[in-house]
């Protein structure tokens, strides 16, 4: 999953970046409002951690502009200011959640997971597709009761496909979600990782990850009864 962090304080921003990366997210970090707006309009994010007080363009302005352009990216706002006025303004302005600094990092992680879940209309943090179990909280996966040893990136890819179960995810989307903006890799690396994942998940079992020629990949459940690679 890919997140955008817009935070100007170097200490806090650096700590959040590190913490979220270690939690398996790909992160882009914008240091001021304008940079943040630029990232937001040119990228695809599963969620945004947006600070309120920013140089050049404030968090609330970014929020309002983004919502005004009709986009529904989940946004969690951070503020250190006093009073519920900010909270009310932020939530009314379209923020999905709000955290007051200083906060416990575990709380930030949990709220972000909830935001992402809501976006994919999932209500639990353990998702089951046939005999595949994906625990988004612990970042573990099992198939047929057996633990799957996945790298962080492999898990991130599986997470994405699982959240979008029975929907086609294009290679571009996969690449946008899994790689940070200034990463030098190309989208071919997506195919590579799909093959890694398949080796670990699908080997010797019913194929879950299917290819749609010319379009992308999909995690398909048995509820989707058609034998071909059509949409369910």
């Amino acid at each position: 999953m890919k997140l955008l962090l817009v935070e100007d304080d170097p200490l806090l921003g650096g700590a959040i970046l590190k913490g979220l990366r270690e939690a398996g997210y790909s992160i882009d970090w914008a240091r001021d409002g304008e940079e943040g707006w630029h990232f937001l309009t040119t990228g695809e994010y599963d969620g945004v951690v947006l600070d309120w007080m920013l140089p050049k363009l404030s968090g609330i302005d970014i929020l309002r502009r983004h919502r005004a352009s009709g986009r529904e990216t989940p946004i969690l706002m951070l503020t250190a200011r006093d009073g519920t006025a900010d909270l009310v303004a932020g939530l009314d302005g379209g923020a999905d959640d709000f955290l007051v600094k200083p906060f416990e990092f575990a709380e930030l992680l949990a709220r972000l997971r909830a935001l992402v879940r809501r976006r994919y209309a999932k209500h639990e943090s353990v998702i089951r597709v046939d005999d595949l179990e994906v625990d988004l909280g612990r970042r573990e996966a099992r198939r047929g009761g057996q633990d799957l040893a996945l790298t962080a990136r492999e898990f991130a890819l599986l997470e994405l496909l699982t959240l979008r179960v029975n929907e086609v995810v294009t290679r571009t989307e996969i690449w946008n979600r899994l790689y940070e903006t200034d990463d030098d890799s190309t989208s071919n690396v997506v195919d590579v990782y799909i093959s890694y994942l398949r080796r670990k998940i699908d080997k010797g079992r019913r194929r879950l990850i299917v290819t749609r020629r010319g379009e992308g990949y999909m995690l398909r459940s048995t509820l989707c009864a058609r034998p071909s690679d059509d949409d369910c």
Binding site: D9, L11, L12, E22, G33, M53, P55, K56, L78, A80
Partner: protein, 481 residues
């Protein structure tokens, strides 16, 4: 008893009505008095003339033909009195009713003096009702047909005196007086009643306004009044109150903003340290990483402590509890200490610091605070200077004060912001300052400290570019120049 607008209006209106009515009544009565008396005098004059025409001189004798009852009268008491006498007091005729005790002729003579007419009031007899007397000195009518040749005797004039009682007039006037008095009383009572309602209704807008003011919310003061529905006399009150409430509201907003900004500035460094430590403990790390994390946390806390101290200084300045220790301070030592402290920073940016004019100067000040101000301002100048520029510290001694100018060649500050930089949490760039660790409190504190010492801190434009911060201190006794 407190003054009451309504009571005052009521009393004043009633008093005015009363006084007006009384004046009108008095005038009416007085006019009636005059008119009645004039009528009486006219009547007396006519009667006297009629009587005079009956006085005949016949061969030296004076005769008077009088028919009792010929003069008009309403009743026996109001019968007119007639007396005809010669100047030598010889009575030709006298009405029966004239009291014995009265000396009518004598009174007439006295009133007439040398004139031939006398008109006056008299009681005739003390204690009895009064009369109006009209007396005139006339020539008797000479009868025609005197035998020719006989020379008439010396003509003798006679006094014709007519008197009428004043009782009828006085009676009418008394009745009139009672009627008028009743009318005045009635008018006054009416005025009181009407005045009560008028004063109540008239002052109602004031009561309404007061009630409206009572509904104002102290947290969000605002006057929601349609001024067109208010009487025009209340406009000044409404306008002034609205202006006052707007000022209060903006002051409250300013204070809320300051508190919010302060909260932000205190929370952010703590949030950073907390996140840093939280994340560090998420998983096992190398020792070197732990060391690095701990150092960063410590540095952060150090900076945070510095800022907290600033906040506390401001709070003490606000509360007036910041204590001064004034001594004679050698300016050159002070300046060189500040410069020495900032030399590493200046060197790292290639800035040259030039000192001028400080030698031999001394001034009364709190040494620590002055040092803090100078160091703060100088650090500002160095940080906002472009690389390899020049910062000058120039001390000037003027008549009543000492000035230390810290001038840089940086970008300067726009004229609008020149005073605003001394506002708390003000940052010239939209929401945050560019420099690390700047929290918008340095300059407000510096100025607060200078003013506490009796001086000031101002900012001017430096030529050709940049800012010139001026520390001002007054010269007192004991300061060497």
């Amino acid at each position: 008893m407190r003054a009451s607008l309504r009571r005052r209006l009521l009393i004043q209106t009633s008093a005015i009505v009363f006084l007006t009515a009384a004046a009108v009544a008095g005038f009416v009565w007085w006019q009636m008095n005059r008119s009645l008396r004039q009528g009486l005098d006219a009547l007396l004059r006519t009667e006297a003339a009629a009587l005079a025409s009956r006085v005949e001189a016949d061969e030296g004798r004076i005769e008077f033909e009088y028919e009792p009852g010929s003069l008009r009268h309403e009743s026996a008491e109001n019968r007119p009195l007639v007396q005809i006498i010669t100047p030598s007091n010889q009575s030709i005729f006298s009405s029966r009713e004239i009291p014995q005790a009265s000396d009518l002729p004598g009174q007439v003579m006295r009133h007439a003096a040398a004139a031939s007419i006398a008109v006056f009031d008299t009681h005739l007899v003390t204690g009895r009702p009064s009369y109006r007397v009209f007396a005139t000195l006339v020539d008797p009518v000479v009868e025609d047909g005197d035998p020719a040749g006989r020379a008439p005797a010396v003509q003798q004039k006679v006094w014709v005196i007519v008197a009428r009682p004043l009782a009828p007039i006085l009676g009418t006037l008394r009745q009139l007086a009672w009627t008028l008095a009743s009318a005045v009383l009635a008018a006054t009572v009416l005025a009181v009643v009407a005045g009560y309602y008028v004063s109540r209704r008239g002052t109602q807008p004031i009561v309404s306004l007061a009630n409206h003011l009572a509904t104002i919310d102290a947290e969000h003061p605002e006057l929601n009044i349609d001024a067109r529905r208010m009487p025009v006399e209340l406009d000044p009150i409404v306008t002034t109150t609205e202006a006052l409430l707007r000022r209060i509201d903006s002051e409250l907003t300013r204070q809320r903003r300051l508190t919010a900004d302060l909260a932000h500035d205190l929370r952010t460094p703590l949030a950073g340290v907390r996140a840093l430590l939280d994340v560090c403990l998420q998983r096992p790390r190398e020792n070197s990483e732990y060391k690095e994390t701990i150092s960063v946390a410590l540095e952060s806390l150090r900076r945070f402590t510095g800022m907290l101290e600033n906040v506390l200084v401001l709070a003490r300045l606000d509360a007036g509890s910041e204590v001064l220790r004034m001594t004679s301070v050698a300016v050159d030592e002070l300046v060189s200490e500040s410069v020495a402290t900032l030399r590493p920073l200046a060197l790292s940016r290639g800035i040259r610091i030039e000192i001028e004019g400080a030698s031999g100067m001394a001034i009364m000040a709190d040494r620590d605070k002055l040092q803090k101000v100078l160091t703060n301002v100088l650090a500002n100048a160095i940080e906002y200077s472009p690389a390899a520029a020049r910062v000058s510290v120039q001390t000037r001694s003027l008549n009543e004060r000492l000035e230390i100018h810290v001038a840089d060649q940086g970008a300067g500050i726009t004229p609008d912001n020149r005073e605003r930089v001394f506002e708390r949490f003000f940052r010239a760039d939209a929401s945050r300052a560019e420099g690390a660790g700047h929290n918008g409190l340095g300059l407000p504190i510096a100025r607060g400290l200078m003013r506490l010492m009796g001086g000031d801190l101002n900012m001017r434009e430096n030529q050709p570019r940049g800012s010139d911060f001026v520390l001002v201190l007054p010269k007192r006794e004991g300061a060497a120049v």
